[in-house]
């Protein structure tokens, strides 16, 4: 079975480490915050200027001056800090954020990512995504492996305008965990019950398949 959004987030959460500073994008990446392993401390960075983002506020705690990058009301955790947008992106571009998780429309074998613009549709903007992919060393892309029509989103070359060039090394899809290197996709894990054949069929870019492909663990 293909992974649910929650299972995707659970798989990504296994990449967290104690003491990590983490930036989560909007959508499935946001769900990763719900699966921080017991006994592990991580701090979430929100690029509008908050390090140490907490859960949503109660009705009584709602503060119009305290929001995240998705413009949702949030709280802070103990030890949080608040700063300007320039400081926030200094952290991001300077490589100080340990892990960045974000969604995408397409990735390709050279680590290119397209996530912000579909020509001829309304273009709303890239927000902080271009800075995040340019600045982070450790990025995980979460996405669907293929479109509803079965068209692969793991391509030989991105067809949409890029968000960043040569910056993606890890992709978790609803079907597989794939790494990118040497101009190829490398199949590392498959979703429980998903066949290697299905993954091969739905991966348009060159995919290296090892003899044994373990099932994902959560």
């Amino acid at each position: 079975m293909a992974l649910t959004r929650e299972q995707l987030a659970m798989r990504v959460s296994r990449e967290l480490q104690d003491g990590y500073y983490v930036n989560l994008g909007i959508g499935i990446p946001t769900l990763v915050a719900n699966y921080v392993p017991e006994g592990m401390d991580v701090m979430f960075q929100s690029e509008n200027g908050l390090l140490g983002m907490g859960q949503f506020p109660t009705e009584d705690e709602v503060d119009a001056d305290m929001i995240n990058a998705g413009k949702q009301t949030v709280t802070t955790v103990t030890g949080a800090s608040i700063f300007s947008s320039a400081e926030s992106f200094a952290m991001i571009r300077g490589g100080h954020v340990d892990l960045t998780v974000l969604g995408a429309f397409e990735v390709d074998v050279n680590g290119n990512i397209a996530s912000w613009m579909i020509p001829k549709k309304l273009i709303k903007g890239m927000g902080g995504a271009m800075d995040l992919v340019a600045g982070a060393d450790n990025i995980i892309v979460t996405m669907m492996h293929a479109s509803k029509h079965g068209d692969s989103k793991l391509l030989p070359e991105c067809s949409l305008p890029l968000t960043g060039a040569g910056c993606i090394k890890k992709v978790v899809t609803d079907l597989a965990y794939v790494e990118i290197g040497e101009g190829k996709f490398w199949l590392k894990e498959r979703a429980p019950g998903v066949s290697v054949d299905e993954i091969v069929e739905k991966t348009a870019g060159e995919l290296v398949v090892p003899d044994v492909v373990p099932e994902m663990e959560f």
Binding site: E59, M66, Q72, N112
Partner: protein, 233 residues
Amino acid sequence: MSGFNKVVDSYDEALVGLKDNMTIIAGGFGLCGIPEGSIAQIKKMGTTGLTIVSNNCGVDGFGLGILLEDKQVKKMVSSYVGENALFEQQLLAGELEVELTPQGTLAEKMRAGGAGLPAFYTATGYGTPVGEGKEVREFNGRQYIMEESIVGDFAVVKGWKADRYGNVIYRNTAQNFNPMAATAGKITVVEVEEIVEPGELDPNHIHTPGIYVDRIIQGTFEKRIEQRTVRTA
């Protein structure tokens, strides 16, 4: 001492000198930390042909979105727009120009502008549509694009507290782009919730030193919330 008194009593005074076709840098992220009073004043003045540099363009009927109603905006320089139907309509009709700029690059353009640096190099946007036509230079084996900084004729800023000398502190994530905007205006107008006596703000805690600030005004704020998300206690 009166030479350092930046306080003005009305938004008419605060925005004196604003003319058609000027560039305005505005603080705020979404609807958080936006200079509501200055925006209302710009609407009242009816100034047109404006270039507005701000992360977003408000929503229909609130924030910078209200400046679209009378077509006062010629161009937006922003990282994310289109939360408003009127914006989309004017964009598609060719009445409004948009320069989409990555969020970190936008913050740095303001910071550099205020700091006297005409341009900087960043890896952000290299190999993407944002990098097209821009100078590329390699440093330590990596490609960077040159981005030019921005200075505004006016900067409109929302602070929490300020003293009469123009020293400002911000509250929570309403800080966002405001400190950089404050440095990058030829005339910087800061509206705050409370004006205090000099000495009441701890000098160690000042976010924006008064040297950057020309006019301070005490305002009132609706502080509309864009995405109200709560948990049950």
